[in-house]
């Protein structure tokens, strides 16, 4: 077990080194969520009556800021697994596979690095949100929010690593990511309250772990509880999602990398 931890840290260290060296990547990853919060947040500011109808008193931008934080987490982490494909193409994977480190440690190291990177990106978005006037009733809440973002991103990095391990080509991977990322984001209360969704969509949204994460982060950020989901239920759903995804990713990754690429 000790050695799995050490090996996981080795891969984690390598992934973070690579992230640190790609300064342009940090900015590029920020552009999309920044556009969401600045542009969409302002365009939809007139929809305030809609969100007031479900008991949210603040500005629209304050309502959607948690959604954009989660958006950042979703997309940073779901793209994060792509270097698995590069690693297999350019030999790093074979290097790791012929060394004594455990296979699942490679997957775990990648996932933990991706989730930390996603959280860093999300914290930059929180910074942007604060800069454009979003306020936190209780600034200390940032700590649990970051914890949730890290945990949630770990689940999504599991999805990413699973897809990257099974995809034979970049095209398949990107196709799958686009197929999954946007719908999961849209089918959540990130932009609009759950109460405004038609019934059948609301049912689908309730099956989506993103929904619980957005509700939880929004409640911590704004103090408004929405959708009638208790905090503990949300936390439990996120935990279950993360445990399941990490397990699936480790299993699939270990199985797939043993096949020739």
């Amino acid at each position: 077990m000790n050695s799995v931890m050490y090996d996981t840290y080795t891969i984690f260290w390598r992934e973070l080194k690579r992230y640190k060296k790609s300064r342009s990547g940090v900015l590029i990853r920020l552009i999309q969520p920044a556009i969401w919060i600045i542009v969409v947040g302002n365009i939809f500011s007139e929809t305030q009556p809609l969100i007031q109808s479900v008991g949210f008193e603040g500005e629209y931008i304050e309502f959607m800021a948690p959604g954009v934080i989660i958006l950042t987490a979703i997309f940073t982490s779901i793209f994060g697994g792509v270097n698995t494909l590069w690693d297999r193409r350019y030999g790093f994977m074979n290097k790791a596979l012929t060394s004594p480190i455990s296979r699942s440690a490679i997957a775990l190291g990648k996932m933990s690095a991706i989730s930390l990177i996603a959280a860093l990106q999300a914290s930059l978005i929180i910074g942007i949100a604060l800069a454009i006037g979003v306020t936190f009733p209780n600034p200390l809440m940032i700590i649990p929010i970051m914890g949730i973002v890290i945990l949630f991103s770990l689940g999504f990095s599991g999805i990413s690593v699973t897809l990257a391990a099974t995809a034979k080509s970049q095209e398949t991977f990107w196709g799958m990511i686009n197929l999954l990322g946007m719908p999961l984001f849209m089918l959540s209360p990130a932009l609009f309250p759950l109460e405004l969704l038609p019934n059948w969509l609301a049912v689908v949204a309730k099956l989506n772990p993103v929904t619980y994460t957005v509700l939880l982060v929004r409640e911590l950020m704004t103090g408004v509880s929405e959708g009638g989901v208790p905090i503990l239920i949300s936390i439990a759903v996120i935990f279950a999602f993360v445990v399941a995804m990490v397990a699936i990713a480790s299993y699939v990754f270990t199985r797939e990398v043993n096949k020739p690429f």
Binding site: W13, R14, G91, N94, K95, S99, P100
Partner: protein, 332 residues
């Protein structure tokens, strides 16, 4: 104890047999060259030895451990330097080695001294803190090789270590490999399709073609086995072609004849005495010799004599199809 030992090792992809029932062993401390044209089964064999592929049947022991049953121990005892350079470009040379050290579980308190040691060996100490992206191809390769040595493996696998490098760099890499061999006393298993490289580096050479080992011996013995001279001649096509061959075979010094259309290659000794005899036979049979030459055999000739084709010969269409099918299966 042998460093590498295989018994009836076979790997097939569907109907295609990439490695066909090979058995051989490599002694501890040897530099063993594995020679063959593209698609001969070199890489597949190397992948089995490095635990990246499982054999279909047969057995392979590396440093005394079974690649199937004891892959983890095999991995602890091998270094693998792949054909393509695998160093992380945006990390510095030293960081790359640090990563490699961690991957191979080198004890923390030894990591720095090991890195200094190999950096010194490959003469990259002064560039160690620069990002690899600034390195030349040869420097990257050296760094890659250093990474494979860091944990002092018992067996070092080098897959085409000099492919794509210029001749000067290639020579330099050979020097490093020899230096490593002396300094660490490790067994080195190297695949290559450069004859010169095999001749220069290896204690023994195995020639593989079509998934089978054709011959294993030292480069010098191989060349000697062919006689010490080669006569190449081109003749004009003639009805007496076959009887010409029959007569040639009767000359006692000729050890082997390879035929490629109108081009004949005779492996022989006492070449200067053989040539007049050839002329005598040809004039009796009315065969016209267009050109004739007498040369010393190179490893290239050894290769041709065992495989029937040159190492970089384009294979027939049929073989290319097989190759394609194999790559497709590998990817699937």
């Amino acid at each position: 104890m042998y460093s590498i030992e295989t018994k009836s090792l076979t790997k097939s992809f569907g109907d295609l047999v990439a490695v066909n029932d090979i058995s051989f062993s490599v002694e501890q401390g040897e530099i063993f060259g594995f020679l063959g044209p593209n698609g001969a089964g070199k890489s597949t064999t190397m992948m089995i030895f490095t635990t990246l592929l499982k054999p279909t049947s047969g057995k392979a022991m590396i440093a005394g451990f079974d690649v199937m049953k004891d892959a983890k121990h095999v991995r602890e005892n091998i270094g693998f330097v792949q054909q393509e350079t695998t160093v992380d470009e945006y990390l510095t040379g030293r960081e790359n080695l640090l990563l490699q050290a961690k991957l191979n579980h080198i004890p923390k308190n030894e990591i720095n001294s090991r890195i200094d040691e190999v950096l010194d060996l490959i003469e990259l100490s002064d560039k160690q803190d620069q990002a690899v992206v600034t390195y030349s191809g040869g420097m990257r390769k050296r760094l890659d090789i250093a990474g494979g040595l860091l944990h002092h493996p018992k067996v070092l696998f080098l897959d085409e270590p000099t492919v794509g490098l210029d001749i000067q760099t290639r020579r330099k890499i050979w020097q490093y490999i020899k230096k490593i061999h002396i300094e660490f006393e490790m067994t080195i298993f190297v695949t290559t399709h450069y004859m010169e490289e095999a001749d220069n580096l290896c204690d023994r050479i195995g020639i593989i073609d079509g998934g089978k080992i054709q011959v294993i011996d030292s480069p010098q013995n191989m060349k000697n086995a062919l006689g010490n001279e080669i006569i190449s001649l081109v003749i004009e096509n003639n009805n007496n072609h076959d009887s010409f061959l029959v007569e040639l075979k009767k000359i006692e010094f000729i050890k082997k004849i390879n035929e490629d259309d109108s081009k004949l290659t005779l492996f022989t000794s006492n070449g200067t005495e053989v040539i007049p005899k050839i002329f005598q036979i040809s004039s009796e049979l009315g065969i016209k010799i267009t050109t004739i030459s007498l040369t010393q055999p190179t490893l290239d000739d050894v290769f041709i004599s065992y495989t029937g084709h040159e190492i970089r010969d384009d294979k027939s269409k049929f073989n290319r199809k097989i190759e394609h099918a194999k790559m497709k299966r590998l990817r699937a």
